[in-house]
């Protein structure tokens, strides 16, 4: 079930069933509001879940992984840090830090958020802002308040995915009711975040436009980078099933294609496999993986009309000479 969204009436029954509250309910769905009649059961409209991934499911560059572990020490050794070593006297507010995971799409930020929750033994409440935002004035703030209340009760870690829009700067020169509403929402969010005495995770692609007030609330900004060759090798290896019949040369793929994310690699494996099946081949040919990843790279937005550099690689001198009729270019 998607997380952090309002449940449809038909989904409420499954929530109740999961919670062993199998009483008849009569739900009316009226735009954004769900009312439960003839029952005193309170149904939460947000849903925390057990983490779906651990750190064994994500391949991160060492620097990123170490930075995450440094911050998690704060939570894993709270007793030592704040009570035995006295940080509660001098750094009381640091107990409720936020972690901002930022970097290009497909670099494992969302999976890492789950892995963090798993390491801390906590449930995770993923918040998709588009599900909280309402066209009605004041309703978005109300939804945010409900969501934080739910997180407190369920003791879940809040994870704001795609947090760019939510945390961007408040508007200084308000020229419309929309601007007023946006500022109101962000002010409410800031208050809620400041009052929330627990870990909050954020994931974003851009970091430049954050409101300074939010920035102060965040203890660590952890950069996610596209994988290097070693990690690309691990990712290809991870995403190609062990039982798949294939003549793929993972080392060659890892060296040849730079600037790709784990998500790109996952998609390439999927499409290469589909092609082999479509052509009734017994094995997934190496060339299918190359075609798939080149197609993914080529499909990216080409703002400058240059096309996409599909690969950058080191080549030997003889290869270069061959390209230029036996001489080196000069």
């Amino acid at each position: 079930m998607p997380l952090g969204r309002r449940l449809k009436p038909v989904e409420i029954e499954s929530v109740l069933a999961r919670e062993n509250k199998s009483v008849p309910i009569y739900a009316q769905h009226n735009s954004d509001e769900i009312k439960i009649n003839d029952t005193n059961i309170s149904v939460n409209l947000f849903h925390a879940e057990k983490p779906q991934y651990s750190f064994s499911d994500v391949i991160l560059n060492d620097r990123t992984y170490e930075a995450i572990q440094d911050v998690l020490t704060l939570y894993e050794k709270q007793e030592l840090l704040f009570n035995k070593w006295g940080l509660s006297e001098t750094h009381k507010k640091q107990k409720r830090a936020g972690i901002n995971l930022y970097g290009p799409s497909g670099t494992g930020k969302s999976v890492t958020a789950h892995a963090i929750a798993a390491q801390l033994g906590r449930d995770i409440l993923t918040v998709d802002y588009s599900q909280i935002e309402s066209k009605y004035v004041g309703e978005t703030s109300k939804n945010l308040t409900e969501m934080f209340d739910y997180a407190k009760k369920s003791e879940a870690i809040i994870f704001f995915d795609e947090a760019d829009a939510l945390l961007s700067k408040r508007v200084n020169n308000m020229s419309s009711s929309t601007d007023v509403s946006v500022n109101q929402t962000r002010s409410v969010l800031l208050i809620l975040i400041n009052e929330f005495d627990d870990l909050i995770l954020f994931a974003s692609n851009f970091i430049a436009n954050y409101d300074p007030a939010f920035m102060r609330r965040i203890l660590a900004h952890i950069k996610f980078e596209l994988p290097n060759e070693v990690n690309r090798f691990k990712l290809w290896h991870m995403y190609i099933p062990k039982i798949m019949p294939t003549n793929v040369n993972i080392k060659k793929l890892s060296a040849k294609y730079e600037g790709i994310s784990g998500s790109d690699i996952s998609n390439a494996v999927f499409h290469a496999t589909l092609k082999a099946a479509r052509l009734n081949r017994d094995v997934v040919e190496h060339v299918y993986f190359e075609e798939a990843i080149e197609k993914i790279i080529s499909s990216r937005v080409d703002n400058e009309g240059i096309g996409n550099p599909i690969l950058k690689r080191t080549v030997d001198e003889e290869y270069v000479k061959k390209q230029f009729g036996g001489e080196l270019p000069r």
């Binding site: 075609e291 240059i306 096309g307 270019p329």
Partner: protein
Amino acid sequence: MIATMIILTLTAALVAGLALFWKNIVEWIKKAANKIKEVLGLTPDGTRTFISRTIDGFKNKSKYYYKNKVTSEWEEIVYTKAVSEDEIPDDILAKVYKQKIDVEVSTTEELKLAINA
């Protein structure tokens, strides 16, 4: 070499005189070379151009070669760009159709001739 010649000596007048297909390639090479210079701080020592027929249509490829001053190794950057069939000159199209799908056909010499014509 051809790359240096293309990148450094093409003038607007020369470009204007080329058929659209070649004109687009020349402008593309200039843009890509500038991008490489901007991002990597390098001027490619040479370039080659190719065309291929793929399952998604025709693709122009331009390949740039430079010697990495730190490692002293040669490096290659490949750019690809879709091109519509009706833009491709007949002689090039015929060469492409003689080859299997995905096989690269060099257009470097034809480009050189078009520029010098």
